[in-house]
C-alpha cells in the first residue's frame, strides 16, 4: 500500500497515543498467548485417553460394621447379585478408583535384586470380570481367568503369580521388546510376577503425577470389611441403575454402609482445579481482549473527531471514501503490527519466566503468528466503525468553519 510512509510519519508525530495502543496490543498479545498456551496444555491434560468406559462405570463402596461380618462370603453374594441385575454389563472388586486421587502405588523394575526404587506405578486388584467392568482394551496376551484370582486378607505375604500391565508401563520397562512372559520385580527385586497381558490404557489415580499412565493389575480380591466394586452398565443406563444397585445391596445385607460414586465424578473432582483455572484464565483473557478492542475504538473515535477537518481536506483534494477508510485501516494495522512485534518478544519472555519459576512447558511458537492474525482482525473489527464514520465526512467540511 502506497500510503504507509506518510501514515507512519504522521503516527510518529503523535507518539503517545500510538504507543498507548501499540503497547496495549503488545501486552494483550503477551498475556493472551501465554494464557491460551496454558489453557490448551490443561485441556490436553484433561483429555488424555483413560482407556475406561468413563460414562458408564459406577463404584460401589461397602463398609461392613457388624462383628460377624464375613467379607469373603459377602463379596461372593454381592458379585452374584450385581452380575445378575439387568443392565449391568460386568462387575469386579477393585481396590482403588482410577483418576480419583486416592490409590496405591509401588516401585517396579525388570531386574532381580536391584537397589533401585524402580518405576512408580499404580497397582490395581481386579478379578476375571475386571477388564469388562472397566471397559479396558486388551492389546496383548490375555486377561485373568477365574482360577487365577486369589482372595486374600489385607495383611498377608502372599502374592498372586500373574499381572496385566498398561502399555505405557510396558514401553517404559521394556521399550520395544514384547513384555509377555517377562517377569516384573518389586520389593527391591525380591518378588516377582509374570506378565500375562497388556491393556492399551489404565491410568493411575493421580492425574498430575508423572506416573499417570503406569499401572499394574493383580488377579486378587482383598477380603476386608471395606469392599469396593467396579461395575459397568449398558450405555446410558448408569444413572437409572444407581438407586437400583444401592437398594439391592442394602436389602441383601443390612450390616453395612453403602456409598456409590461414578467414574465421571471422581475424574471431575481431580480436574476441578484445572478446570477452574482454565475458566479464570479464559475469562481474564477475554476481558483483556475486550478492553483492548474498546481502547482501539475509543482512540480511533477520538482521532477521527480530532481530524475531521483534515479528513474533509483530504476528500477535497481527491480522496475517495474508500481511500479515507483505508487510511484508518492501514494506520490501525501499523499500530497492531508494532504491538505484535513488541508483544511477541514479551510473550516469549513471559513464557521463559514461567518456565523458570513454575516449570511450565516452552511456548509453542506457532501461537505467535496465530495471535498476530487474531490481533489484526481484532484491530480492524474495532477500528471499522470509526473509520467508516470518517469516510462519510463531507468534503465540504474543508471550507466550512467548525
Amino acid at each position: 500500500m502506497s500510503e504507509i510512509g506518510p501514515i507512519l510519519r504522521a503516527l510518529l508525530r503523535n507518539k503517545t497515543s500510538a504507543l498507548l495502543i501499540a503497547g496495549q496490543c503488545a501486552l494483550t498479545l503477551a498475556i493472551v498467548v501465554n494464557a491460551l498456551f496454558i489453557i490448551v496444555a490443561r485441556q490436553e491434560l484433561m483429555q488424555r485417553p483413560t482407556g475406561l468406559d468413563g460414562e458408564n462405570i459406577v463404584y460401589v463402596q461397602s463398609m461392613g460394621f457388624t462383628r460377624d461380618f464375613r467379607p469373603e462370603a459377602v463379596i461372593r453374594e454381592d458379585l452374584d447379585l450385581l452380575r445378575r441385575l439387568p443392565g449391568v454389563v460386568a462387575a469386579s472388586p477393585i481396590n482403588a478408583i482410577p483418576l480419583s486421587g486416592g490409590g496405591s502405588s509401588r516401585g517396579y523394575s525388570k531386574e532381580e535384586n536391584t537397589e533401585s526404587e524402580g518405576i512408580g506405578a499404580a497397582y490395581y486388584e481386579l478379578d476375571e470380570q475386571g477388564q469388562k467392568a472397566l471397559g479396558l482394551n486388551l492389546t496383548a496376551g490375555r486377561w485373568f481367568r477365574p482360577e487365577d484370582v486369589q482372595a486374600l486378607p489385607e495383611n498377608t505375604d502372599q502374592y498372586p503369580y500373574q499381572a496385566v500391565i498398561s502399555q505405557a508401563m510396558a514401553r517404559k520397562l521394556y521399550g520395544e521388546d514384547a513384555p509377555l512372559g517377562k517377569r516384573l520385580y518389586f520389593q527391591n527385586g525380591q518378588r516377582s510376577v509374570a506378565i500375562i497381558g497388556v491393556v492399551e490404557h489404565l491410568p493411575s489415580a493421580w492425574v498430575h503425577a508423572e506416573n499417570f499412565p503406569y499401572s499394574v493389575v493383580y488377579p486378587r480380591i482383598t477380603t476386608e470389611k471395606f469392599i469396593r466394586y467396579a461395575l459397568r452398565t449398558e450405555p446410558g443406563r448408569r444413572d437409572e441403575l444407581m438407586p437400583v444397585v444401592e437398594q439391592a445391596l442394602r436389602k441383601a445385607n443390612a450390616g453395612r454402609i453403602i456409598r456409590l460414586r461414578t467414574q465421571s465424578e471422581a475424574s471431575a473432582r481431580s480436574y476441578r482445579g484445572d478446570k477452574a483455572m482454565n475458566i479464570i484464565l479464559a475469562s481474564v483473557s477475554g476481558l483483556i481482549v475486550v478492553i483492548t478492542a474498546l481502547g482501539i475504538v475509543g482512540l480511533a473515535t477520538f482521532s477521527v473527531r480530532r481530524r475531521t477537518r483534515q479528513i474533509g481536506t483530504r476528500r477535497a483534494l481527491g480522496a475517495s471514501q474508500w481511500q479515507v477508510l483505508r487510511y484508518f485501516l492501514v494506520e490501525n494495522w501499523l499500530l497492531t503490527t508494532i504491538g505484535v512485534l513488541l508483544g511477541s518478544g514479551l510473550a516469549v519472555a513471559l513464557n521463559l519466566y514461567l518456565v523458570e519459576t513454575y516449570s511450565l512447558e516452552r511456548l509453542n511458537l506457532w501461537y505467535l503468528p496465530a495471535a498476530a492474525v487474531l490481533l489484526w482482525l481484532l484491530g480492524w473489527a474495532a477500528v471499522y466503525a470509526p473509520a467508516r464514520r470518517a469516510s462519510r465526512i463531507s468534503p465540504a467540511t474543508a471550507t466550512r468553519n467548525i
Binding site: T313, A316, L317, T399
Partner: protein
Amino acid sequence: MLSMHNISKVFRTDLVQTHALRDFSLEVAAGEFVAVTGPSGSGKTTFLNIAGLLENFDGGSYRLDGVDVAGLSDSALARLRNEKIGFIFQSFNLIPDLNLFDNVDVPLRYRGFSAAERKQRIEEALEKVGLGARMKHLPSQLSGGQQQRAAIARALAGSPRFLLADEPTGNLDSLMARQVMELLEQLHEEGTTIVMVTHDAELARRAPRNIHVLDGAVSDLHVVGTPSLRAATV
C-alpha cells in the same frame, strides 16, 4: 470551463430552510481570473463548494470542463476534484502531522503518480512558491503566509486547470496577502483559471473580472470596481 445555470441550493435544518443559492448562473471561460465578493452569508462559499464538487446542489445544471456533473458517483467526483481542481482554503488546511513535502504529496498519491514523478512535482511546486528550502518543515514551523504558499503549492502540484480559493488571504496580514495575490496572478498568467472569493476590495480590484453575490445570486456581472460595489464589500 465552468458553466452554471439556475443552480439552487437549500440547506434544511429541523427549524429553518436556507436558500443559500437561487437561480445562480455563471460562465467562467478557461484562463479567466474571477474575484467573487459579497456580504457575509450571501452564498459565496456555497457557490465555491458546488463549483469545486464538494457539495451537491438541488436544482439547475453545472458543467465543468464540458462534463455534466449531475448524477456522478462519489468516487467519480473525487477523481474530478483530484485531477481538475486545486483548492486554497482560508485557514490553509495543511495537515499538521505532515511536513511540507508530504502535504504537497497528498493529492499526488490519490492521483496515482509514480514516486519519481511525485518527487519532481513536489519540488517544482514548492520552489515555485519560494519554499524549496523548507520541504522538511512542519506547518507549525512556518508563518501564515508561508503556510498559505505551501497550500498553494499543494493545489497546483497536480497541474489542475482550475484553482478555487475561498478567502485565501483572510487569515493573513496585508504584506503576506499581497505576496499570495502576486503568486495567484503569476499562476493566472501561466494559464490557470482562477476563481477567488474575497472580502478584500483592493485585492478584488486587481482581478480582471469581478462578480458580486447577493442573496444567493449573481447581482452584477459587468461593473468592476464601482464605488457602490466597494462600499458593499468593505
